[in-house]
Symmetry: C2
Subunit: 263 residues, 2 copies
Amino acid sequence: MLITSLANPTIKMLRALRQRKARDEQGRYLIEGIRLVAEAIQCNAPLDMLIVAPELLTSAFAHELVANYAATGGRVLTVSAAVFASLAEKEHPQGIAAVGRIEYTALESFPMAQVGWIALVEVADPGNLGTILRTADSAGFSGVILVGATTDPFDPAAVRASMGALFSQRLARADWGHLVAWCRAHGIGLVGSSDRGALDYRTATYPRPLVLALGSEREGLSADQLANCDCVVRIPMRGRSDSLNLAVAAGVLMYEVTRHDDF
Amino acid sequence: MLITSLANPTIKMLRALRQRKARDEQGRYLIEGIRLVAEAIQCNAPLDMLIVAPELLTSAFAHELVANYAATGGRVLTVSAAVFASLAEKEHPQGIAAVGRIEYTALESFPMAQVGWIALVEVADPGNLGTILRTADSAGFSGVILVGATTDPFDPAAVRASMGALFSQRLARADWGHLVAWCRAHGIGLVGSSDRGALDYRTATYPRPLVLALGSEREGLSADQLANCDCVVRIPMRGRSDSLNLAVAAGVLMYEVTRHDDF
């Protein structure tokens, strides 16, 4: 059955998922485009359904993806091009999306990591968050811990920027005190990043596993939070600027942590 | 004289500067907000005028900035809050903007650099370009060379992301052949970045000065371009992803190039 009405109640619920409030209420989010949907399926990300607009979907690879998903009992919602466009963020939608289920892992359920995790305290920009997920995956980290009032990793901009790393990285939410207690209970090193850090990031010895903590784009980590860290590293600034973009700083530090790994 | 009409011809010309076509035609661009305008003035960036909405501008620092600019013969356009909002990209405009003049430096006029420059080939995203300018400034590079059909460094998103580095970094445009010839004529090392690079970026010896060349977000550098490079480095990828965000990759590489500098 092809859904052609923009006012269809299911479509209205799905369209609302662009907004964080609806994502939080429904516990679901949208994954758009062939590449991301394929990556979600391959990573066994928990999905509610696929949404397909046959008029728009020309890729044979994508059609096979949908057929395989349906063959294993997955639900496929078939919609008109106009209905799909009303859900899509992309200008030229490819005609395939998935509805993912939002799942966070409890810190206590994190399997121990070889390298460690990133903790982001009150990060505001979903593009930064998605980019950090992507880099964490590439650098060999295992997950991202969101502390305090952060932006939503299931925001369409974060999903897009993560380039699929959202489906392979573990995600947790914790308050700062909980994070510190978890690190101490398990012998996990807590390394902060700050322009006031005592250690040049190039000279620090990074414990394993570790949590690398970064503060918000505007404020960084607070003095109390820095005092909880086992060490605080800084990236030298040679020019006029006093800080790096958060995702760039996270990238430089993550690659430094795994610098001596054989990969 | 306070401009209150949205249809004022000067205002219409300035409003058009949001579009690249108008920026290219007028050779001017908009700089918005107290911090960026202050940075532009401090860096002696070439400015046509300031635009001020007294109803919106509450900062004493900004008022002093405007008074000093006017005292040295600078032109100040005074507009109503509604007119200012029609020019502004920010949701809560601070009531100050500047009109900058677009200037590129010819490669041949670049002063020799201690570290070097970044070359971006067909970079598409203005946020990435602005972030790379910001990182170049912080890591100790001197400028960015735009090769081929790249996005506009004077796009509002690039200006914002550069956090003022647009005013301290030199900018050039060149085609690839010109860039290669310039490097050879001046003994400048040309280092490419690619996931097919022969050298792990951690083991490479970086010449001085150098041009660090990165390709577009989608395509990277072409085989021909890679063949022109003195060496090609790669950043190891440990996870599922086959690439990093361009601005993150540029950041990791720029900080590697200056890793052994004493700063």
